[in-house]
Symmetry: D2
Subunit: 344 residues, 4 copies
C-alpha cells in the first residue's frame, strides 16, 4: 500500500499515521518527493483497514498494491476453480476451468406444468441446470412475488423428472434453510449483493452460491461480496455479470462483457453471464449469449419460457425454447472453435 | 397507462393483451396510428403489473400515466408530511413541511466518551438529532463492523445526557427489534434500499424509518422502496438523497441535488440530504450542505467527529464540531432568508 | 408521435399545441384518458421538431413512434448496406452485409519505417485496411499531436507498398481536404461526433466516413450524427462502437457490445467495434475482439504496434503483431462457424 | 508522478522506462516494495506525457502528483481570477472572486422583438449579461439551427438598447471571427468541449470564453480544455457546469453541483452553473439556481423566455421573466447572507 501525503501534512499528522501503521505491525519505506511525501507500507496484514488510513487528515490518497480479497483473488490461488454440481439421475453441471455451465429456465415458477415442460425443453437443447424463481424480488410491492414454497416443490419435481440441478434465488436469511434444502445452487440476486447478513448466512451453509453483480458495483466490491461468503467457509461461489446501470436507455442495463476477462485476471472463481437481465430485451439475447462465450465466460444464465407471450414476469426478456436451442448450437460451436477446455 | 403496439402485432397477440386487461377490470380506448396502434388503458387497479403487459409479444412500449406508489406519492396525499420525533428531556426533531431536521454525529460509535462528547457538541451547534452507527455495513469483510449492542447502549446514554433523539442503522431483520428498541429513527442504508424483507419488517414496527437512496436507484425505485414500508402500516418514512454512482471519479459519489425538488413534486414525505457520504470528501461538505438547504431539502445528515483525524471509519468525509457549527450558521441563514416555513 | 398532455393542461395550451401541429400539416387523433389526454399525431413531416412540441407548457411527454433518421434508419432502407473500399494493387476492404472489415494499425504514425512494417504485418495476419493517426486529438494541450502531413505521406507510402486502404482521422474542417485526399476512409473521432460543421463537411466530400460513437452518446444521437453526414449526399458511413463512459473504473471505457445488435435493428449501415479504445487495456483486447464478432459486428478497429512498449501514445491498449495474428485466427473461426455471410 | 511497476516487470522493461524519464530530464527515487517496485519521479517538465509512461509494458499504474494544467490550475496562480466584461452605456458584468455574473436570455434568438423584450426584462430583474443563440448546435440535422448572422445583429441591437454585454455560442473556427466581432463573451458549448481546433482558435482571439463542461467530461478533462485556450494567450476563460449524463432519467442531465467547490480547489477561474440545460426541466430551475449560488458558484446561466410556451427550442427548460425575477431575489438574498464577496 502506498500512502501519498498532502503537501501540507504536518509532522504531528504524519506521526499519527506512522503510529497507526506500526500498531498493525507494518513497516514503512519513505519516498520523499519534491512537493509531497509518499509512505510505502509493507508487511501488514490484510485485515488492516485501508479506509482507516485514508481517513487520516494528512493523507491525500491511498494506492492499494495487493488485492483485499484473499480467498476470492488469484494471488494465493492461481489455478481456475471448477465445480461440479450434481442433480438427479446422474445429471450434473460442471462449471469453470474450461467447462461451460448453462443454466436456463423461466424467470418465475408459475405452475407445475410450466416448470417441468421448460425443464425438459432446456435439457433437450443442452442446458446443464434449471433456473426458476420461487421467491421473487420485486421493485413494486404490489407485484406478484412468486409461488414461494410451492414453487420450490415444483422445482424439486422438475429435478426428479429431468435430473437437472436446480438454481433458485433466496431473498432473506430467514428463507435460506428452506431454499437451500431444495436448491442445488442458491442464487443471491443483484439487489442483495451487499446484503451482508445474507452473504454471511450463505457462507455458513453448504450449497454453492451463484452471486450476481450489483447493478452499480465495481469489480472489487463484487469480489469482496464473494469474499464475505468464502470467509465463512463456503468456497463454492459462481460469479455472474448481469449488466450495469448506465446512461444508455435503449436497454434496461448495459451488459459489461469486459468484466469477464477482467474478473478472470483477478479471480479463480467461475464467471458466467446473464444476457437476459443484462439487456432486458429478448431480441438481443441471442447475439449477447454468443458474445459472452466468445469473451471467455464459463457459462450462461438464460431466461427461457415455453410461452414468453404469457410469462407473468420479465416476458420482455425471455426467449422461446426453440430460440434457446439455436443459441445452444451457436455457443457450442464458438466454444468448440476456441478449444472448449481453454476458452480464454 | 398507454400500450404502444408493435407494427407487426398480430390480431391474436392484440387479443391476448386485451383479454389480460379485461381480466383486471380495465377499459380500453384505442388510438389507431398510421404505422402502429396504441391502446389507452383506464380504470385498472394499481396492483396490475405493468411489467406483465410489457411482456406481451405484440407490445413495443408501455407508457405509465399514473404513479405506482399510492401511499408515498402525492396523487392521493397532496399536503407535505411533517413528523415530530421526540428524544428525552423535552428535545425533539421536527422534519418536513418547512421544518429542518438536522441529524449529526460520527459515522460509527467508537466509545462512550466519543459519542457523548459529539452529542453535546452537535446539539450546541444546532443539531436536532444524533446519528451514530452501531451495526456497520462494510464492503470488506475484514473491516471493523461496529460495536453492535454496546454501541446502542452508548447511544442511549448520549440521549439521556443531551435529550437528542437517536438515528442509527439496522442491517438485518434479525437485529431490527434490538435496534428499534433503542433508536428513535431506524435507518435503512443505501445497500439495503431494495432488501425487501428488511423494508417489510421496518414497516411492521412503529419507529420512523430513514431510508437512503440506493446508489444507482431511480427516483421511482426509491419511492417504491418507501411504499414497501408504508404498505405494512408504518407511514413515517424520511427519504435521504446520498449521492449516486457516476463516471465522475473526483468524489466517491455524485450528490444529485435535483432529486430534492424532483422528489418534492412526486411525494409528500420529507426529503433530507447526506452531503458527507454523498461526496466522501470533507472539504466540500460545507458548500454542499448549503446547496442542499437552498435546493429545498427538509434537513441534513452530516458526519461530525470530534477528531476526524482518528475516526475509525469514514474520517475522510467527517468534519469537526467547529466546522459543523459554521455550517449550521450558514444553513440557518439560508433557511431564514428563504422564509423557513416555505423553503421550496 | 404521441403527445401526452399534463393533467392541468388548459384549453388554451392545448389549442396552441394543436395549432402548431396543424401548421406542420399534421393530423390529430385524440385519446382521452381518465386523468389526462393523449394526442396521437400522424402524417407530419420528419422535419417537425419533436423538441418544439415537448416545449409547449401543457405537454407532459412526447413519445416518438417513428425514427427521426430517415437516411440512416431501416424504415426506408430495409437491406444491409455493404461497402467496398479499394486500396492499391487490387487490395480492398469490404464491410457490411456479412463481410468483415478488419482495420488495424498503430494509434499514431510515428515514422515511415514503423507504419510500413506494421502495414505488412497486419496485412499478413489478415487485416483488410490500415489505420494510423496523423492528426491526433489529445486531451492535454502539451501532448504530442501527431506528425500531421508527414504522417499522411507515410500512410500513402504504406498503401503503395501493401495495397491496404488507409483509415485516418480528421480533426477539423480545415484539414479535411488534405486528409481526404490521402485517406480511403476518413475517420471522425469520439470527441467530434457532434461537431456539426465537421460532419457536414464530411458529408460533402466523397470518401467514406468512419464515425465513432461519442463516449456518452445515445444510439439515437449516434444515428442522427450519421444522418448529418448522409443528408449532405455522402451515404457511405461506417459506425463504430468504441466504449461508453460509466462508473466502472477498471477500464477506460465500458465496451457496450449490446450496441451492435441494437444498431443492427435500427440501421442498415455497417457497425464495427474498437476494443482497443473501448477498453484501454491490451490484456483484454483479444477476448473483446472475439466477443464483438460473436455479437454480430461487421468488423474491428484494432490498435496494433510492432513494439507497444515504445509506442508514443496509447501503448497501454496496443497489442503486438503476433497477438493480432492470433486474434485474426480466432475471429475468423467464430465468423466461419456462425456462417460468415449471416452473422446476426 | 509515481510509477508503480508490475510484479513481473523485467530489468529490461524497467531500464526502458528509466531511460525515457532521464531523456525528459527527470530524476528517479526508488521505493522497493515486498511484491512490486515503485518509481517516484521528480523534476520533470509538465510537457512529459503521462500516457507515454503508462504505456510502457512493465508499468501497472501511474499516479499523478501535480496538476497537468499549469495555467488553469491553482498551483502557480493562487488567487481567484475576476473578470469585468463591459457592455454598452456603462453596463458590464463582473464575475469571479466574490462577484456574481448572471447571464440570462432565451435559448435562441427568434426575432428582434423577442430578444430586445427579453433583454429589458432580465436586466430589470438583475441580470448582468444577455445570452441568446444565433448559431445553434442541434442533435437532429432537420431541426432549426438559428438565425445566424441575423441573430447576431439582433443581439447587438439588444446591447445597444439595454447596455448588457452579449454571450453567444460559436460552433466552428470558420464562424468565430463573425461571432467574436459581436459577442462580448464567446461561448463554446458542451459538444465542442474537446473540439481542439475551435479551442485553439478561441485562444487566439481576444474575447473572453465561456466554456461549458462536456456531458461526460471529468473535471481534469474540463480544465485541460480550458488550458488549450489559455496556452494560446487568452487567459479569460469562464467555466460552466451544465450537468452530466448519468443513469437518472427524470431529468435530461444530472447537475453535478459538487463540481463547483471541487473546481474551486483546482482552479482560479470563475465557475458558473447552468441549471436550465443542467436539468432540462423548468419546474426545478429555481431551486437549482439557489443551490448553485449556495454551493459557491460565481454566477448563473439561465434560459429565460418571455413566452416559454411558444419558444422554438428548449421551451421545456425555459422560465418566464417573472419567475426569473423571483429567482434573482432569492439568489441575491443567499449571496448576501453568505457575505457576497466571500461565498465559498
Amino acid at each position: 500500500m502506498l500512502v501519498i501525503l498532502k503537501t501540507n501534512c504536518t509532522t504531528a499528522q504524519k506521526k499519527a499515521i506512522e503510529d497507526y501503521i506500526f500498531s498493525c505491525n507494518g513497516q514503512i519505506v519513505e519516498a520523499p518527493g519534491k512537493t509531497r511525501n509518499v509512505l510505502g507500507i509493507v508487511g501488514i496484514d490484510h485485515t488492516v483497514d485501508r479506509e482507516v488510513i485514508a481517513s487520516y487528515p494528512g493523507v491525500d490518497q491511498v494506492v492499494p498494491i495487493t488485492q483485499p480479497y484473499k480467498l476470492a483473488g488469484r494471488d494465493l490461488h492461481k489455478e481456475d476453480t471448477q465445480m461440479t454440481i450434481p442433480g438427479k439421475k446422474g445429471a450434473s453441471m460442471t462449471v469453470g476451468k474450461g467447462s461451460l455451465g448453462i443454466i436456463a429456465g423461466p424467470c418465475t415458477v408459475e405452475s407445475r406444468q410450466q416448470i417441468i415442460e421448460t425443464a425438459y425443453a432446456v435439457k433437450e437443447a443442452g442446458a446443464t441446470a434449471l433456473r426458476g424463481g420461487a421467491f421473487k424480488p420485486r421493485t413494486n410491492p404490489y407485484s406478484f412475488r412468486g409461488l414461494k414454497s410451492k414453487g420450490l416443490e415444483y422445482l424439486a419435481e422438475a429435478r426428479e423428472e429431468t435430473g437437472l440441478p436446480i438454481v433458485t434465488e433466496v431473498l432473506s436469511v430467514e428463507d435460506l434453510p428452506q431454499v437451500a434444502e431444495i436448491a442445488d445452487v442458491v442464487q443471491i440476486g443483484t439487489r442483495n449483493m451487499q446484503n451482508y447478513p445474507l452473504l454471511t448466512a450463505a457462507g455458513r451453509q453448504s450449497k454453492p452460491v451463484l452471486l450476481k453483480r450489483g447493478l452499480a458495483a465495481t469489480l472489487d466490491e463484487f469480489l469482496l461480496a464473494a469474499e464475505y461468503i468464502m470467509v465463512e467457509g463456503n468456497r463454492r461461489v459462481i460469479l455472474c455479470e448481469r449488466g450495469i446501470r448506465t446512461f444508455e436507455g435503449e436497454v434496461r442495463f448495459t451488459l459489461a462483457l469486459a468484466a469477464v476477462p477482467l474478473l478472470r485476471e483477478k479471480t479463480h472463481l467461475p464467471v458466467i453471464v446473464d444476457p437476459s437481465h443484462g439487456t432486458g430485451k429478448s431480441s438481443i439475447v441471442r447475439p449477447m449469449c454468443r458474445a459472452a462465450i466468445a469473451a471467455g465466460a464459463d457459462g450462461l444464465l438464460v431466461e427461457v419460457h415455453p410461452n414468453p407471450e404469457i410469462a407473468r414476469i420479465d416476458g420482455a426478456q425471455s426467449i422461446t425454447c426453440s430460440e434457446f436451442s439455436t443459441i445452444m448450437k451457436e455457443v457450442s460451436a464458438i466454444a468448440d472453435c476456441l478449444g472448449r477446455t481453454k476458452i480464454h
